[in-house]
Symmetry: C2
Subunit: 258 residues, 2 copies
DNA sequence: TCTTCATCTAGTAATTTTTACTAAATAACG
DNA sequence: CGTTATTTAGTAAAAATTACTAGATGAAGA
């Protein structure tokens, strides 16, 4: 959605190529240096912060739509997106709040309430994690701003997106115990302390300095490299990389992390 | 949907009180005496077996809709329904298969392809477990037949419902390890062998005769009663009941079953 | 009545996993 | 070269899981 012409066509004819009444919203978590952030956009129409979201093309699967939406709206590409829950409470979109005057001001169109967009919508929630330091954000006609927010300093979100974030976080943490993560969140070579810090940040709690890395190694997820990293006036920790075979197997079959 | 008049109104005006493009499908598992079954309906229009499904009223939450749909279509009431996944592949409904002649024969309406029903639909999947011996099935205008099928003798299902069942089963088994079940599946008083058989049937594998019940007791889920059950020429096993307090707590907080 | 038999279940031993703790190795700095 | 903070191997203690044994039991049948 680059310009007003495209946007006008979307408003008038969108229902022909998108599935009406169904949207997708994505909770994109970003990690870097023990900081956990969430990607939000400020929607030009509701004038508040939301999860990046959009509609499903009639030719797409839900996963493909989620991928495209995040790419278009935020510039973040190639994410591992995971469906977590679908939201459909009748009051979630708060159609009653619709402001006809503001709609006209922004779109130049009358009869906003008859638009295919302004009707009850069920939303499929996806979540993902990425390294926020590697992303290049951009905006489009709908998202006036795109930004990473500290996970414990989020603004109030529009619609039911607060509940979505809570649910996404809950699912993410449950899944952390059953599936490996880190492949796109850490450099190719990392220390045991770095991967432990990653898990601690995502889980929001301390893990054992010695036992947790041993568990990862016992599961066969890590390859010990001969190189070391220099960290100043301390013993240099070994570098590790992921054992890609074992990692992918764990993604399929699941693991048990204590 | 009791009669043709109601059904005709549904065809013509359904989009006014239902949310178009979104449906709900329910995988209702039934347990009794070490048998696991699945509730299916034979849909009068596609002329094949499907999961019971329907549309969402514009005033309902997803959960309320799922409850109502199962009650209306099958007669089973008051189920604990759990959302498990949303399905939206563009080819899942196989609109291409639509048969205009058959549509006219059944509905007396021309222009079937313009109906709000015959358009791409995204479906939210719910699952539940109940005691099939306690249910009283009935049919309606859409479901020509309603029946319990043995889980390993299912007929080929229409649409993508085979995949839905597989996914529902997968989620159910994962959740069995984290949440207690049995409250509506066993009599108020039951033996350790009976509850073990329940878990064995649902998980599809053998559990230790001695250790598994000990685990349930250790978790505080069971009350030992003073009564016993007579099972013929053998030692009479003790009867147990659920500790409702601990059971509900486990539902909220989760447990770990080995 | 007494033996037989299949099942239930308490008890415990063996094993594995988890958790807690100790101390040696080490790299850079002053 | 001693100091210092960190990494990490190693092991001991505790807990949980799994495997196994044997007595208890209730009814059927001799």
């Amino acid at each position: 959605m680059k310009n007003e012409a495209e946007f006008r066509d979307f408003l008038l004819n969108g229902h022909l190529y998108y599935v009406p009444h169904v949207s997708i919203d994505c909770a994109i978590f970003g990690y870097h240096d023990q900081q956990l952030k969430l990607l939000l956009i400020r929607n030009r129409f509701v004038n508040g912060w939301c999860l990046p979201g959009g509609y499903i093309l009639r030719t797409e699967t839900l996963g493909q739509a989620a991928s495209r939406i995040v790419r278009e709206r935020t510039g973040v590409d190639n994410l591992f997106l995971q469906q977590f829950k679908t939201f459909g409470d009748p009051d979630r979109a708060q159609i009653s709040k619709f402001d006809e005057a503001r709609w006209f001001e922004l779109t130049g169109l009358r009869d906003g309430k008859k638009s295919w967009l302004i009707d009850q919508t069920i939303s499929v929630g996806f979540y993902a994690i990425t390294d926020f330091s590697k992303t290049v954000l951009h905006t489009d006609f709908i998202s006036a701003e795109t930004a990473w927010f500290d996970i414990d300093r989020l603004p109030r979100l529009e619609f039911d997106h607060d509940a979505m974030v809570k649910e996404a976080m809950h699912t993410l943490r449950l899944q952390l115990y059953h599936y490996p993560i880190g492949y796109n969140l850490l450099p190719a070579k990392f220390t045991l302390t770095e991967i432990r810090a990653l898990y601690e940040t995502l889980l929001g709690k301390k893990l054992d300095v010695s036992n947790f890395p041993k568990k990862l190694i016992a599961l066969g997820l890590l390859n010990k490299l001969s190189e070391k990293r220099s960290i100043g006036a301390h013993r240099s920790p070994h570098l590790y990389s992921f054992n890609k075979t074992r990692y992918n197997q764990a993604l399929k079959e699941g693991i048990v992390l204590s």
